[in-house]
Symmetry: C2
């Protein structure tokens, strides 16, 4: 694939492609977004990636060699392979903590996943107001300054690709300085309707929306999210929108809302799934599960992932189907997440309680129904993808969910995908899945039973078709389609 966009690119995301530990060693960043963006840089002739420096990171401009393992290059070093210019943003702790720890997480995350029961939460006071002004707004100004600096270095001719809920204000700030630059903003988490956004004070939600309207394209994983964004612009700002063209006229400019479903990097996934470490995990899982069936989930311990209701549904399945006793293990690989936030710590407790209740009710000396492991181990997850019979994704809200896409590609037992209707992935994979209704524990128990008793032929058909869809719509295609459409906008000017 040739470079589809004939412009230097300035990329902005909160996390970068590598992180530095306290001895200066470098590791590749984890997570689907970072993997996708690292892939993106391979398609671009000229790009710089602006991201926030971690505690032990260097700051400022860094030249990074990516292959075979990432390393920082000196000024005169010359290498074969990909070289990625990075710009590591120094956001002072007194700005970063309120920016990230009060506003981005949990406030924006909770609002966008609709996790607040609004009768009692959130309660915004003077501290949250300061966190908005001195944290989120200040961090967005620092990020915008760095992006502006990079755009200026290219004589104002660049495409600016902004990412996610950390930097909603940057598009507007860049537009003020460079009225003609091409800007897109990709929102990777769900975008709820206007009523949910009203949880934020009027000036805050207005700033977020007008910041995004500084862009030429505001992109999401699903058409439903893109539509909800336009409806917010209509209802909260009062601008007329065009739901045929999926656009809004903002002053002189047309702003487009678009859906580009993100995907996975298949070669890297396959490399991990067939690493020696993964092979060893497969052998161990074979030993644990024996002739039985393996139900799997792989998630962060986030309330949006719906882990507690999933365990309740599995418990109900065992209550109602005693013939399954000893025949099935639910392996839950859960990466502990944000345990410094009260809601997350409480949710982790609730996960343990729910699993414990099922194991106490149904477990025997030789069978533990739910095998709960708080780990973050990609070779283990990939091994479990290969070995599982059912993958459970029952999230109450999820921008995409890449676990579903990963598992169907590397699975070796014609697993059944049990997939929540509230994930972005359901748009592409729902027709090959057993659909889960995330709030209905009884429906989930029935769906798990259907998945565990599906015929081998149907399982093979569905898994094969799902894998084919993911292999076709891989992360390369996700990138190429976006860049091609952005290039079309650049040509129109």
């Amino acid at each position: 694939m040739s470079a589809p966009l004939d412009l230097p690119v300035v990329l902005l995301s909160h996390r970068g492609p590598v992180s530095f530990d306290d001895s200066g060693d470098i590791t590749r960043g984890a997570g689907g977004l970072v993997t996708a963006l690292t892939g993106l840089t391979g398609y671009l002739d000229e790009a710089v990636w602006v991201c926030v420096a971690g505690e032990h990171d260097r700051t400022g401009p860094v030249r990074l060699a990516l292959d075979p393992e990432p390393r920082v290059l000196g000024a005169d070093d010359d290498v074969d392979g990909r070289v990625l210019p990075l710009r590591l943003l120094d956001i002072p702790a007194e700005v970063h903590q309120p920016f990230y720890g009060v506003i981005a997480n949990p406030l924006l995350w909770f609002v966008q996943h609709r996790l607040y029961g609004i009768g009692t939460e959130p309660s915004l006071g003077r501290e949250e107001r300061r966190a908005w002004e001195d944290g989120y707004v200040a961090a967005n100004r620092l990020a915008a300054d760095a992006v502006l600096d990079e755009v200026a270095r290219h004589g104002g001719k660049a495409a600016v690709l902004l990412h996610d809920y950390h930097f909603y204000l940057v598009g507007g700030l860049v537009r003020e300085a460079f009225p003609d630059v091409l800007i897109s903003h990709f929102v990777h988490i769900p975008w709820p309707g206007p009523d949910t956004w009203k949880v934020l004070p009027p000036d805050v939600r207005t700033s977020i929306l007008t910041g995004l309207l500084g862009c030429d394209v505001v992109a999401f994983h699903t058409r439903s999210d893109a539509r909800a964004f336009l409806l917010c612009v209509q209802e909260l700002l009062g601008f007329p929108i065009d739901l045929d063209e999926f656009s809004v006229q903002y002053g002189e400019r047309t702003v487009r809302a678009r859906a580009y479903p993100i995907s996975i990097d298949i070669p890297s996934l396959e490399a991990v799934a067939h690493s020696p470490a993964a092979d060893e995990h497969v052998a161990q899982l074979d030993e644990e599960v024996g002739d039985g069936k393996l139900v799997l989930r792989v998630d962060r311990t986030d309330p949006s992932k719906n882990i507690v209701r999933g365990f309740s549904a599995f418990g109900l399945l065992l209550d109602e189907h005693p013939e399954l006793a000893g025949q099935v293990v639910f392996l839950a690989l859960l990466q502990p997440s944000r345990q410094d936030v009260q809601e997350y710590a409480e949710y982790t407790d609730a996960i343990h309680t729910a699993a414990g209740a099922v194991n106490a009710r149904h477990g025997t000396d030789t069978w533990t129904p739910i095998d709960l492991r708080l780990v973050s181990d990609m070779p283990l997850a990939a091994a479990a993808y290969r070995r599982c019979d059912v993958l459970v994704v029952n999230a109450v809200a999820d921008g995409m969910n890449l676990v579903a896409k990963e598992a169907v590609v590397v699975n070796e037992r014609d697993m059944v995908l049990a997939l929540s209707e509230a994930t972005g992935a359901h748009d592409e994979l729902g027709r090959f899945a057993v659909t889960l209704h995330p709030f209905d524990v009884a429906q989930q128990a029935d769906a798990l039973h259907a998945a565990l008793t599906m015929s081998a032929e149907e399982r093979a058909d569905r898994r094969g078709m799902a894998a084919a869809v993911v292999r076709h719509n891989d992360v390369g295609r996700w990138l190429a389609v976006q860049l091609r459409e952005l290039a079309g906008l650049a040509d129109d000017d």
Copy 2:
């Protein structure tokens, strides 16, 4: 005003115009909806009101004389004044309990007011499924049967006026039997967007929407709610909608979404507000408040009313303005509500805790900052409306909120209305109010300060204009506009 609709009317609501106690005595029903519908019957030549019989009510057809006090008429009794035919529905307890106590309240109420933090609630199991089938669906069938019987008695020529969230399925059931009858359904509580409705299982939300699409008109208090309904039809059912005409084509029929903001019956309110009981309460309030200012709220103890954040905001006001010490009393008249539902009992506890914290921090031997009274006493409420300096309505979601309309009409001290942007009333009265952002405690504290320090002239201007708007858009006008538009539809046929 002459009868605007030349058809016999069959009215359906959960509560009726009167209730019977265990000694057979009759009292008028309370609440804005019942008052409004009782008024409606005065404008109609021929009407019957179908409602659910209470525990001590008679069942079946009853002829009710309304004036001067309601009484049941015998077959041969003849009276001057209004006579209202009632039909009291006998819904067996084993149907009514799941219908009302599981589905209508709390499930639909919580969904429509967006009170669930969806990470953990609701969790729907076999019991909720049975409550839907054997409760809500069954009760709606019984109500539809009674309505159909009344329509048949008029040879199939009637206008059917259905009310509120208890009976979403009735419109569709009536339409099946009488394809040409005129049907409207009025939804009196907020209508959230499609993402919030996805908390209900697909078949449940589809039944609710298609039930409403059995009507000719689906009515709400605000245009925003009517629009959200159409967006649900589009996103959850996949039907094309027309946001210019505010309608949807459903098979051969056009279904219209409309906004008719409900209002109050001004003569009845004024009668209560100037009753001897109210006069006595005014004198007592004068004694309690003295030269100080009275901040008032009148609500049910419902999490949607936002009582806890309101007390927190008042506490913050006192923290930041020590000059107010001893100068202001916050009188909260709270009607205990649904204490058999866990969330309501917990919320009532939280109300006591929040008020107690403010009183402990600021109270003195001679001053209790928050005067919290768990009562339902209309003369006391009306007296407080007359005497208050600020009325606080900070609901997180409220279809209309009639308290705001009542207070501005009878108040005698040019009170300031402090009104949440999340109430239907804000559409009409927001421009005369100090707007409250219901999630922002700090903003509410600032707004209360602005209200308490507003100049007498500005207060008089705003209160006067608000009262004039309410007097013009009174409940009679609410009824007349709806009936006129329905009559227009009838003429088109």
